[in-house]
Point group: D2
Chain length 319, copies 4
Amino acid sequence: MKKIGVLTSGGDAPGMNAAVRAVVRKAIFHGMEVAGIYHGYQGLINGNIENLDVGDVGDIIQRGGTMLHSARCLEFKTEEGQRKAISQLKEHGIEGLVVIGGDGSYRGALALSKLGFPSVGVPGTIDNDIPGTDYTIGFDTALNTIIESIDKIRDTATSHERSFIIEVMGRDAGDLALWAGLAGGAETILIPEVPSDIDGLVRRLEQGYERGKKHSIIIVAEGVMSAGELATLLKEKADIETRVSVLGHIQRGGSPTGRDRVLASQLGAKAVEVLMEDRGGVAIGIRNHQVVDYELSEAFNKAHKAELSMYTLSQELSI
Amino acid sequence: MKKIGVLTSGGDAPGMNAAVRAVVRKAIFHGMEVAGIYHGYQGLINGNIENLDVGDVGDIIQRGGTMLHSARCLEFKTEEGQRKAISQLKEHGIEGLVVIGGDGSYRGALALSKLGFPSVGVPGTIDNDIPGTDYTIGFDTALNTIIESIDKIRDTATSHERSFIIEVMGRDAGDLALWAGLAGGAETILIPEVPSDIDGLVRRLEQGYERGKKHSIIIVAEGVMSAGELATLLKEKADIETRVSVLGHIQRGGSPTGRDRVLASQLGAKAVEVLMEDRGGVAIGIRNHQVVDYELSEAFNKAHKAELSMYTLSQELSI
Amino acid sequence: MKKIGVLTSGGDAPGMNAAVRAVVRKAIFHGMEVAGIYHGYQGLINGNIENLDVGDVGDIIQRGGTMLHSARCLEFKTEEGQRKAISQLKEHGIEGLVVIGGDGSYRGALALSKLGFPSVGVPGTIDNDIPGTDYTIGFDTALNTIIESIDKIRDTATSHERSFIIEVMGRDAGDLALWAGLAGGAETILIPEVPSDIDGLVRRLEQGYERGKKHSIIIVAEGVMSAGELATLLKEKADIETRVSVLGHIQRGGSPTGRDRVLASQLGAKAVEVLMEDRGGVAIGIRNHQVVDYELSEAFNKAHKAELSMYTLSQELSI
Amino acid sequence: MKKIGVLTSGGDAPGMNAAVRAVVRKAIFHGMEVAGIYHGYQGLINGNIENLDVGDVGDIIQRGGTMLHSARCLEFKTEEGQRKAISQLKEHGIEGLVVIGGDGSYRGALALSKLGFPSVGVPGTIDNDIPGTDYTIGFDTALNTIIESIDKIRDTATSHERSFIIEVMGRDAGDLALWAGLAGGAETILIPEVPSDIDGLVRRLEQGYERGKKHSIIIVAEGVMSAGELATLLKEKADIETRVSVLGHIQRGGSPTGRDRVLASQLGAKAVEVLMEDRGGVAIGIRNHQVVDYELSEAFNKAHKAELSMYTLSQELSI
């Protein structure tokens, strides 16, 4: 290939810029040209495309968000939209595409590949919910943002001897809640992968208070229920008073951690290698510290699994 | 005086520990003993009191929250409660009291002083809403916590070209919203000290979009309205889509900034000096970089004023 | 004036970008044009000048360093160089100049003003060493960077019960050392404004160890002596073992704090107001929370004073 | 076993406290008692031992350093010292020992095990240089501390268009330099595992300057040479000017990252499980996300390997 394109799609994640930088520089290092496609698939359809040089991705490895912007695009879900996209790509002399994003972004890459345009998916999402890769780009940064928040809330929880419910992101995947809960020393973690046992939670809290525990921190993934709903349940069932904190959008931003920058660099570079072999329809991932590529379809068919040994461990350590 | 007591009361604020450290060490430096009173006025009534030595306040200058804990106390609002408190103080040989906290805590200190027990107020609250002092302990840290959150949310706002409403603390005082809004480059700031002009806000936003602005950040102090209410208003009035983020409890915690540690050290030490002169019923503050003391009653009678030149400036700079 | 220029000069300081943003937007708000001059006075002589629009200073308020770059320039110290600069300014239709920097940058602004070109100085330096303003832009951020480093080193000092000497910036001014030392809970602070008493320091350290102190943190401003020299002195004089840490260049960088962003916004905007009145030869500063302007020459003739009450306080609190 | 002991030894590392917490709580959860041994092996010989309860390790998961302190101990390198240690352990009813530390600490644990006292090693060191485990506790935090410093220095490097040499820890292992260099976008990384090619480095730098590169960041592991030596070499060989920054002791401290807290929790808990099976002489590690245990001797006999694919990648991405 002589020229490839790169876009970011879906919710932004810290490290997306580091991945874009890796794609651009790796490709240029190997003698190819690179086009940046702005505003995701919508921008692709609209021809919002500009060449990127080495210097255009200088001084971005440390920045949150995505310099290529991201956007939703209903039109791209239709085959008509996809064909428009391919026309644009061809018009710009682009022969392969790197898509950095989550689940929905991958479906788009697969559609393009099936229509004959080689496209590769790089996992960029804070949720860590893409099957086939041990970690996604952005997860480690979001984890650290959450535990910094837990640390701050713990100051107040300890000072006032109050219990707090902290709601974190994760509609279907509990990884952020699980890791942050274990790392934050939370007494209880509620994740979508484990059926919620509110009676058991009440019992644990009451036993804690009996043993002299003065405050508790409960982490709940948004996919289980909202922090507000849980607070109401605890109040109604057992007259347990809690304060509520919904971390919300701060979880997505910020300068990426070392891990996320390294991962983004590795996966972005690998995506270019795959395209250099004229292959498409594949996802890039990391498994046991090895950078791998695998069928994009696997990223949909397999289910993401939470590390339940961490769940058990967090319960043992929060006695 | 041979022995003084110190307590923290009201919402915790970063720097309270630095202030406790200053009180303890300054007093010991001048040959006095110091008793730590745990759990605020409630702990005082209950006799939850222990002597503090130099080492007991080592390694705490950098910690958020308060090692003395804080608590609400209805009983202390009665004269009976206050007399119980004085009995406890006398029983422990304590001759003067330093109270670190906000508005409500000051009322308690004044009540004790009126009953003949010399008490001094040190302003510990993130809200910066205590008349008579330019800054309160904790304000600077909370300000920086908020702007770090704004910076993170801006990553997403820029990437997705979406507008965000960020709700910050401040029931009666808009200082946090005003400073954070100016420092965070917010397009609009809503504070209790300035009547909200929603039509004007809509006009500003629409003009911005017309000029090509792709996203806006709006800061609203909780005392004006909730971020959710504002989002609904903007949607209903002008079909403007916004995302909402309520920063909540993370604003209270965290390691204090340099300014807050220095301020806490200065004000805590000054409180001891005042007690060494057998004076009570006074509040400690900083005015034009000078540490001052003044009648506690002034902290209630005067109104806190927001720096409205900053409000005007933020509008000029967010064109 | 219809068009003004802005440049940064001397060592970079966090908040310089926020000041540039304020200058640009304030001027545009009042109907003027603004030219950015790149690479300081050298760039000015070379005509490295480009117009700046509102969007050019978007998303920079939170960035360290200076987007206008900075550089040394020997040529500008000559009148010939200064006249070249004025030619360039006139060629670009620029009628007034805002110079953001320290001591040396101010001398340049004064020279231009004396040659008839109205120039205004805005204090951008981490050292806080410019007479006539209570604070300089960058000082607060550097202070917080230093205390974060002290906090980290304290972890090791406490764990290993070792004493550390930490060298911080400040050739002539001890403000960073003084504030950071007090805020970091340092046992001893050495600043240029107070004659060093090494024998007294040895005595203090030995008394501390006798009282059971297990470790000490000593802050030394580079203007006093290097950390290495002090370590050698302590070893030779009293066989006291210390570890040494030179913070160096990390003190200059990083995202500016809330205070620095607000200060930069206020001072940058004020500089524009002064130029709008066709005045030059003045410096902008903050005194007792009021933005002021004063003769540039005052910034040289007066001496910077350290707040020695903080020095005394730090000794009382580090018993 | 009914009672186990835990100590930290060697250089402190962020996450040691989280590991201590895990050991204590896991053991208590399974009905055992736990003794904390203060000041490493020296404290063990001296009988500096106290029982730890659940609450004693509350609120420490987020703290840097080690609450058990650490110290050097020559005496423990002798069999006599080791026998004294075993006497102390027996006297306190302790039947198994968890040692958290690096290389030297492991040798001690092996010695005790050989003398019949079951001891387990948990890898706590920022250097990531223990064979048999993919990561050591503290590495991730130190990595992030270093890249925050690089980000700050980059602000100055960019503003002034100067090149910087940053010296990081790593006497025998280049992992910190390698990861931080890749994550920090460094142009050049020098690690002990790759022979230094100064001529090649000079060529790379000169080519960069020719291509228009204005500044470079060079990371050097202390085991290769000091930053000062490298600066002198570059100056002498090719008249290349650089600034030097030695990060030093700040790399050891600070609140542990999410990864380090999770890893510390997992490895600390596993150490208890191993002792519950009456096994000693083993090291705990993580391999491909699985917690494992293996012969302590393997941690000496095998050599640590750096991930050289990262080295190659960093060169490709820093064109």
